[in-house]
Symmetry: C2
Subunit: 105 residues, 2 copies
DNA sequence: TCATTATGCAACCATATGGTTGCATGTCAA
DNA sequence: TTGACATGCAACCATATGGTTGCATAATGA
């Protein structure tokens, strides 16, 4: 779970996920064409995405195909975001009251 | 948006959000009691959460009350996670097929 | 076979990050 | 007023992070 949050923290890595979202199963070379960074730089980012299992790779000959794995994102939603979503309106209400109190004082 | 992702990347900061989820409107001192870290360490983490607007502060005399703001989390869900959710089943299917092809070869 | 292509591995570097300590400031209460 | 309490600010340090370069390895195709 922590690996997923950390992997999502970098904008370049989110960009890579976007690229795979647009076209799944791209090679490292494909992805490099869209990123202004050395191949090794891109490879490092992809490695972190793999560790977080946000990306799954399939070898085909000498080519490494990268596929999006939506499961970790779903888990973050279910186990983490969902929790805050449920209490969202209440939290907003508490916050408004606190700000009102501050203005009164 | 990037600030939010970055703020969520650290487990201590997610812990702070959890603490505020359990009890909203805590002071820095309150939060420090639950964290095994110096007060200044906690304050630094809270500062990042404030920048990301995940936490909103209200001054009351010499006390700084911290409140959860659920809006950024909701935005991440709507603008980012929701996108991948829609194509989730398709992405999983594509992934399975790719893995099958690999096994065949 | 051999040049080319796709990728991996390792060293290296600059900067960001997460933590500490020490001291300063502002508020409360006796 | 004064001491105690809640917090802020700044310097400092170790390590993590994001990037590079150079070289190694493996598959493809002429």
């Amino acid at each position: 779970m922590n690996n997923v949050f950390k992997a999502l923290a970098d904008p370049h890595r989110r960009e890579l996920l976007d690229l795979l979202y647009k076209e799944n199963g791209q090679t490292l070379g494909d992805l490099c064409k869209c990123m202004s960074m050395s191949r090794q730089g891109v490879a490092k980012h992809l490695a972190l995405l793999e560790v977080a299992q946000l990306v799954v790779v399939v070898w085909q000959g000498r080519e490494k195909l990268h596929y999006l794995n939506p499961v970790p994102i779903q888990q973050i939603h279910d186990r983490w975001i969902g929790k805050f979503e449920g209490e969202r309106l209440q939290a907003l209400d508490t916050l408004r009251k606190a700000l009102d109190d501050q203005n009164d004082a």
